[in-house]
Symmetry: C2
Subunit: 230 residues, 2 copies
């Protein structure tokens, strides 16, 4: 009935934030990690150990990470390299990370259907609006058959509240793109044979599984037994 | 019968070389490879591809190996590293390899029960008496859980006529000893799951097999598809 119809809105349109409840804008940035990121990298690695139920194997400290990941011999892409993925509700301000001589950050705008509730926002904040979402750690490996290097991805981790939104793909793609840029021949990593979801995801990204190969590891006391001998 | 016994030898003992037919002395040396070793490294890698029936994957050239294995960023032990194992019937003369700033060669004397017939002696000769026996190529990897580097062994190869004499063990042990020396946490490599002899050998050396892990490889056109994208 006409009488029940609301009167036409006499005043300005509602705030944009309430008029577009379907999407939440998010700005993302992939950049090289720096020594000042070590505390957060340490926490991310610990979360990964918890997720993999391998905390009994976790013995890294902030100082061991800082000494080994950011030593004078660890030139990005030629040694251990970390890409950090950050997110912000606002566009990233121009900062000194943009002039990094080794890598120009990759930025991307995404629209999420549901806003992310981040219970650890304070812990993973880098600046006022910027939060660390995840990381990928990789380093060169070498194929003698190809006669050229490749990259080996040791860790790929996205914090729980950011999962299933394409951020893992974004990080792994960044490594693959860097490999192509440098003329490298391969990107390799490992996956647990029962992790069918991960395997499906990796195959979708174009990877082959080398099912016949097994990893051999010499570590702990068995390795120490070689100290001094040859 | 006594009359059939040979008369006692009336004259001096035979030459030492014939009086000790049971053993053949061999001097061995493990040293860092240099750019001048590239032609022989290339041949060794090709022999490995033939042995593994993977020549269709072999595309390395002497120049691709030289450019990638001996570039300004490939500092031994912090990047791609090759130990060469050489053998000689005479002790090694003091040479400039002994003063290598990164690695003092490891020498060892072995007595072989049977002399080695080397049909490719001329091809693998480095100096008058010295022959290349095999090599191991390795480079740093990283364990975030340990918070420290390790070594990954990409290739371990001993020329056919020198196999089953402990030379493979000598090369792998040299890598393990170097890892301990540098405070590294692991030495890792891969093996084909059907290669039971190799697996037995590696387990005897103290290695564990990580049976649940599978290698993922992004290469060729699937990798090139990431060029320019992110």
């Amino acid at each position: 009935m006409a009488a029940a119809a609301p009167p036409p809105a006499p005043t300005p349109a509602p705030e944009p934030v309430t008029s577009l409840p379907e999407t939440t804008p998010l700005f993302t940035r992939i950049r090289l990690a720096t020594p000042s990121d070590v505390p957060q990298i340490h926490k991310l690695i610990h979360q990964m150990a918890v997720f993999e139920r391998l905390t009994h194997l976790f013995s890294a400290t902030e100082s061991s990470l800082a000494a080994t990941l950011f030593s004078p011999t660890t030139q990005p892409f030629h040694s251990f390299t970390i890409f950090l993925l950050e997110a912000s509700p606002k566009p990233f301000a121009v900062s000194n990370v943009d002039s990094n001589p080794f890598f120009t950050p990759l930025t991307k705008f995404v629209n999420l259907s549901i806003p992310i509730e981040d219970p650890e926002r304070e812990t993973f904040k880098t600046t006022d609006d910027v939060t660390v979402v995840g990381f990928v750690l990789f380093f060169p490996n070498y194929s003698t058959f190809l006669g050229k290097p490749g990259f080996y991805v040791e860790d790929l981790f996205v914090r729980e509240c950011y999962r299933r939104k394409g951020f893992g793909r974004m990080l792994l793609s960044a490594v693959a793109t860097q490999a192509v840029k440098m003329g490298y021949g391969r990107v390799e990593w490992v996956v647990l044979d029962w992790n069918v979801n991960a395997i499906k995801f990796y195959e979708e990204m174009g990877a082959d599984l080398l099912n016949e190969w097994r990893i051999c590891r010499l570590t702990g006391e068995a390795l120490q037994a070689y100290g001094g001998a040859h």
